[in-house]
């Protein structure tokens, strides 16, 4: 059956409608998970709150395992879904920069908008900075254009690169995720003892 657009069940013109619906759902989940508070988000770096890790790991393992089942049921053809192209070096550098932004600013781009939606002033400043950053990046793009496009591996998945079946990755990720849930729970407990007042 799926994916709907590549299989011609609906036309590509539905792109924007679907994007809008998914965006609303995504924003709702971010807010409901408490991501509109930068304390929650930055907490992962200080060890008193690992909700970011939990939410995203949960999303990853549910989607991974779920898609493998959906593929088996014939609901979603995993060979036809879009896979973001991999540029290995630039992606590593980019995620390090993103991590710094995360811990410094207390938001990621998506959560800053949900925080604006509930009226947070720091988030407003964050998004101003975000656009300034985008502007600088665009203007300076020719300087690192070569690096930006280096390390291209194509639209590959981990199983394409390693030849290991997707089920192994799904299982490994699930074990890692579940283990990290338990470990971070213990860390949280220990760290929070030393915090007198803790409010969101």
């Amino acid at each position: 059956m799926g994916p709907l657009i590549p299989n011609g069940i609906i036309t590509g013109n539905w792109d924007f409608v679907i994007a809008l619906l998914l965006g609303i759902a995504f924003g709702f989940i971010l807010e409901a998970s408490g991501f509109s508070s930068s304390r929650n988000i930055a907490g992962v770096f200080y060890g008193y709150n690992f909700v970011v890790l939990r939410v995203f790991f949960t999303a990853v393992i549910v989607a991974m395992v779920g898609f493998l089942y959906f593929d088996y049921f014939g609901w979603l053809d995993l060979d036809k879904i879009f896979i973001l192209p991999t540029y290995l070096g630039p992606m590593i550098v980019g995620s390090v920069i993103m991590g710094f932004g995360f811990v410094l600013g207390g938001f990621c781009p998506g959560t800053s908008y949900t925080a604006i939606a509930i009226g947070k002033m720091d988030a407003l400043l964050f998004t101003v900075g975000l656009f300034v950053g985008i502007f600088i990046f665009s203007e300076a793009f020719p300087l690192f254009e070569d690096f930006y496009y280096s390390g291209y591996l194509g639209n590959v998945t981990l199983s394409d690169v390693t030849g290991i079946p997707a089920a192994w990755f799904a299982f490994a990720f699930t074990v890692i995720a579940l283990a990290s849930f338990w470990i971070t729970m213990l860390i949280e407990k220990r760290v929070r003892k030393n915090i007198k007042e803790y409010k969101f």
Binding site: V51, V62, G66, F70, Y72, F73, W75, Y198
Partner: protein, 213 residues
């Protein structure tokens, strides 16, 4: 403190919904009716499988009741079948081949180790269905070489067709390069002007009734 952290009930409900969706998936999972038993590589090799062709001269034994483990299936439509068919042949039109009752019938024939020979008007008509049956695991299905047309033209002297190779397909009937060139050098203005028929040089026996080409 976030509400979920002390009370995972909501998470539990969500996960149960997730599990339910997967259970629904398993329940609605339909077993496919047909599965490819031959890989694509094996299907390519099928073209070289000379055993899979049923020669017209072998028909003589069947019609003479010397062998009785062969069933003919006429995949033409009812009308053509009514106009003439190989004696004892069953008529299953190509359009009805995948109907459950016909597939069941073919399965029974396979279990009884009967050979099934498909034929159409010419070999080409039965070629696709024959390949399809072989691909989905009916390895007892063969194809009648030459098709019905060749049989109809030779039905009184089937034994003698052992010597005849004109029904075998895939061979060039001409030296293409030679023929294409030789015409080029002929000045055929005269012929066109006089409306004389162009001489066609047939290299193989002209008695072949396999419909021109």
């Amino acid at each position: 403190m976030h509400v979920h952290e002390l009370n995972p009930r909501k998470t539990l409900v969500t996960v149960i919904i997730f599990v339910l969706i997967i259970i629904v998936g398993f329940l609605t999972l339909k077993k496919p009716r047909f599965k490819y038993k031959l890989s694509l590589e094996q299907t390519v090799e099928l073209a070289h499988d000379y055993e899979a062709g049923f020669h017209p001269f072998e028909l003589a034994d069947v019609l003479g009741k010397k062998t009785n483990n062969v069933v003919f299936i006429d995949i033409r439509d009812r009308f053509s079948y009514g106009q003439g068919h190989i004696p004892g042949a069953e008529n299953i039109s190509a359009y009805d081949l995948s109907e459950p009752k016909n597939i069941k019938h073919l399965k029974e024939l396979q279990d009884k180790e009967m050979t099934v020979v498909l034929y159409g008007n010419d070999q080409l008509q039965a070629n696709g269905p024959w390949m399809w049956f072989r691909q989905v695991g009916f390895d007892n299905v063969k194809i009648l070489l030459g098709g019905y047309e060749y049989y109809a033209a030779h039905k009184d002297a089937l034994e003698q067709t052992v010597e005849d190779i004109s029904y075998l397909r895939g061979e060039p009937r001409y030296d293409f390069a030679e023929v294409a060139k030789s015409v080029g050098s002929v000045d055929n203005t005269q012929k066109v002007a006089n409306k004389k028929p162009v001489v066609v040089r047939r290299k193989k026996k002209p008695k072949v009734a396999s419909g021109g080409c």
